[in-house]
Amino acid sequence: MITTDIIIIGAGPTGLFSVFEAGLLKLKCHLIDALPQPGGQCSEIYPKKPIYDVPAYPEILAGELTDKLLEQSKQFEPGFTLGERAETIEKQTDGSFIVTTNKGTQHKAPVVAIAGGLGSFEPRKPSIKHLQSFEDKGVAYMIKDPEIYRDQRVVIAGGGDSALDWAIFLSEVASEVVLIHRRNEFRGALDSVDKVQELKNKGLIKLITPAEVTAVFGKSKLESIEVSNLDGSSQRINTDNFIPLFGLSPKLGPIANWGLEIEKNAIKVNNALDYQTNIPGVFAIGDVNTYPGKLKLILCGFHEATLMCQAAYKIINPGKRYVLKYTTVSGIDGFDGSRKEAPKAVVKSID
């Protein structure tokens, strides 16, 4: 069991900045995110795109913003549970919460802050009849352990980076790799496209374009697929595995069943005070919340994170008074023993 002061669900900009604000109040944070790396949308969807409305940065790349937020909160030693989705929340008799992920990792804290953005990123599933009944029986939407494909026949569908990269990787593992895409052009890093071309020329990847998978067949497990060319003709291909890789789309997911008040796919919070939800001790900050006048902006998420931390402080330290301190005056004492402070002025007479 991981214990901390604030469990933060979502490691995007708002969640990461919460670590800093909590740290100033001597509160420890642990972040849970379904993606394998911190940064949320900023790292997953548009790391190379510029953002122009982060105060004091005339222009900053989304990936760079993530790096700077991680750097800023580093001395407060946040914990991370990455690549796992927060699945359930249980209130304990002592008032604390236990949040459990889809992989069974348990986290306990007196305060939970949901900074889940648009939700957790789930693979987009093509609408092919009976596809779902073959899930884990030859059909998968992401590759967790490439070894399970050793010496097997694999069909990958998709035209983006992950389809290209996995086709390349699996060409050395699987007995046969077929890559199917709806058009002849692929969108990916240039060297991946070139590599697939090279492997195709060597006969290590079979390319079928422009085409799409239109049916799946099998008894107890996947046995074959139907591939339809865009000219209307179709063929049947025998295979052990079909892996559609069509990117990720965000879904509010299990959080929607936590008993929180939801409006317009977002969690309703009290914006007059502290961004608490209808469950005391559970907060929602950043893009995931809604209230009258809500703006889904990173800078608004930062403000909400700061006020959430103040409320968390009161829950964790009941009755304790608090006086706002400025970092310029007080400096920052990290949990790692580090100290940052303004250089002292020199007092010296001038002759």
Binding site: I45, K49, L118, S127, G158, R183, R187, F246, G247
Partner: protein
């Protein structure tokens, strides 16, 4: 108003709405759909309008001549579902006076 254009939008439930879209706010079609709340928040414009998701995919019904698809839009549509010949990403279509009378239908949610 002189700066507004009439657009007919059929939502995902099949209901048709006639909206008056302003041309002086630098809006795109995805934003117009959000402006009039014709699709629930969180189901449209997920990437913010960067042609990096297909949540604003729509079918162009009328025969208006639109701006050409960029490479980004083309690539995104190649990976989207329920794509037809008439598919476009709403976020890539700027609202201009030329769009007077445009008719579109929102594609189903992924």
């Amino acid at each position: 108003m002189a700066n507004d254009v009439n657009i007919q939008i059929t939502d995902r439930d099949g209901t048709t709405h006639d909206v008056l879209a302003p041309t002086d706010m630098a809006l795109n079609l995805m934003e117009v759909i959000r402006l009039f709340e014709l699709a629930p928040e969180g189901t449209i414009g997920v990437c913010g309008g960067m042609a990096m998701c297909a949540s604003c995919q729509c079918y162009i019904i009328s025969s208006h001549k639109l701006n050409e698809k960029s490479e980004d839009e083309d690539a995104m549509l190649s990976e989207a579902f329920n794509v037809k010949q008439s598919s476009r990403l709403g976020c890539q279509i700027q609202i201009t006076n030329e769009l007077e009378g445009l008719e579109i239908k929102l594609a189903p949610e992924d």
